[in-house]
């Protein structure tokens, strides 16, 4: 404490010195001018340029990201739409196929029924025709039999033989 008191009292610390002020000003101004030209200019310029570069890089990255996101969104939409389309197509195809199948089956059924009906008809006709023929035949046979009976009626043996032969004939004929 005493030492510092002596220092302040002894003066000198606050003495003005115009020469030093002059040299300080001159030195400082020269340093300022030289540094401004050779150091601060390039350095601050480089810093500003880099700042701009970084900002533009960030901006570009941001736009790229947004674009990528938009593309992704679009892709997703397209994919969803394609999925829906495919689903729809499959469903439609299935429906069509089902319809086609039922149609074909129905048609086949109808055809079969028709064919069966016509076959039945034909059989009926054939049967009727055969029956008519048979009737005529039987009538003829009966007439022939009667004729033979009448012819053979002359004797019993003959009658018997006639009847037997007739029966035989009949059975032969049947077969």
């Amino acid at each position: 404490m005493l030492t510092s008191g002596i220092i302040v009292l002894s003066g000198g610390l606050l003495d003005p010195n115009p020469g030093l002020i002059f040299w300080t000003a001159v030195t400082f101004v020269i340093v300022l001018l030289i540094l401004r030209k050779f150091a601060w200019g390039p350095m601050v310029g480089a810093l500003e340029e880099r700042e701009k570069n970084i900002q533009s890089s960030i901006d570009r990255a941001e736009t790229a990201r947004e674009e990528a996101e938009a593309a992704l969104r679009k892709n997703r939409e397209l994919l969803a739409k394609a999925d829906a389309d495919a689903d729809k197509l499959i469903r439609e195809g299935k429906e069509y196929g089902e319809k086609l199948r039922t149609d074909i089956v129905d048609k086949a059924h109808a055809e079969a029924t028709k064919m069966i009906a016509s076959a039945k008809e034909e059989i009926e006709q054939e049967k009727r025709r055969a029956l008519g023929e048979l009737r005529n035949e039987v009538a003829d046979l009966a007439v022939q039999g009667a004729e033979k009976i009448l012819k053979a009626n002359l004797d019993a043996n003959r009658q018997k033989a006639i009847v037997n032969s007739m029966i035989q004939d009949l059975s032969k004929h049947r077969n």
């Binding site: 002596i6 020469g19 200019g41």
Partner: protein, 313 residues
């Protein structure tokens, strides 16, 4: 970890390097003390401390001798070159060398290239002053004041640091130097104010927007306010730089006044090393504060009307 150790050992070696001239300087003191009587030791210590702090025309390189700087008187003005002027020139030379190299590197560098080594270190400094000091305090148009702020920062920093090396002297512990630098800030502040408000706005600002009957009080207050800012800058830097050196030197001289090795070992050396490390911090801090306050004053002076209004209320 290795790096930290290396740094620590670097600091230690620097501290030892610093202590050497002190010890040598003290060597002269012991001679002086032995010639006189014990009772005058304290006065002698004060003289030696003053000798270390004050400006002088003698460049002392103690064990190797000393030489006297030439005296120049032009037109009745004594513009002799003193120790602090020499230190200032040395600081300027170092600054021009460092920043010349860095600037050259930046000129040859493309924008996409990353700086390395010295350029990288200085870029961190420049970027700090540019963004955290200039841009945040001045705002728009800070680019115009950037060269001044950067120069004043590195200039004061270099002068502060040169006070901490052997045979160095702290030019910033001379009030003439700090006053000159503060006057630069003052002029730049006034010019910035005139430019952004015009002469009319500048004069209106001196009335602080009060009623005309109060002008007789307000104008002197505002005018004094203009000058307190550079005065505060001057005294802050000068006092901080002087105080640290006085403390270090006083701690060293305690052991010589008490003539005790024990005091030297357990008080003087450890405490002065501590204060020295503190001084390294203060060297950066004061350079930063001077720059910061300069930027703040410029920012306040060139603030737009809206901001002024907000600040006034």
């Amino acid at each position: 970890m290795k790096r930290v150790n290396a740094m620590r050992s670097g600091i230690q070696s620097r501290v030892f390097a610093l202590l050497i001239p002190f010890l040598l300087g003290v060597h002269g003191l012991t001679f002086a003390a032995s010639e006189g009587h014990g009772g005058h030791g304290e006065e002698k210590a004060g003289d030696i401390i003053m000798h270390h702090i004050l400006d002088t025309r003698v460049m002392d390189f103690e064990p190797f001798g000393s030489f006297t700087l030439p005296s120049i008187v032009i037109g009745g003005f004594d513009i002799s070159i003193t120790k602090h002027v020499v230190i200032m020139w040395l600081a300027s030379a170092i600054l021009l060398l460092i920043f010349g190299m860095v600037g050259k590197r930046y000129r040859s560098m493309k924008a996409t290239e990353a700086p390395s080594g010295m350029a990288n270190t200085m870029e961190a400094l420049v970027e700090f002053i540019r963004l955290d000091v200039a841009k945040s305090n001045i705002g728009e148009g800070y680019e115009r004041h950037l060269p001044y702020l950067l120069t004043v920062f590195v200039f004061i920093l270099m002068l502060n640091l040169l006070g901490l090396v052997p045979y160095g002297a702290t030019a910033t512990s001379n009030i003439n130097v700090t006053l000159t630098l503060a006057v630069f800030t003052f002029f730049i502040t006034q010019v910035a104010a005139l430019k952004s408000h015009g002469v009319k706005g500048y004069l209106q600002h001196l009335t602080a927007g009060t009623h005309w009957s109060l002008w007789i009080i307000m104008i002197p207050i505002e005018v004094i306010g203009l000058f307190t800012k550079p005065f505060a800058l001057t005294v802050r830097l000068f006092a901080n730089m002087t105080a640290g050196h006085i403390v270090i030197l006083s701690l060293i001289f305690i052991s010589f006044i008490l003539k005790s090795y024990i005091v030297a070992m357990f008080v003087s050396v450890p405490f002065s090393i501590f204060i020295y490390l503190l001084e390294i911090f203060v060297a950066f801090l004061q350079a930063f504060i001077f720059t910061m306050l300069s930027a703040l004053f410029i920012g306040l002076a060139s603030a737009h009307e809206g901001h002024e209004g907000e600040a006034a209320h």
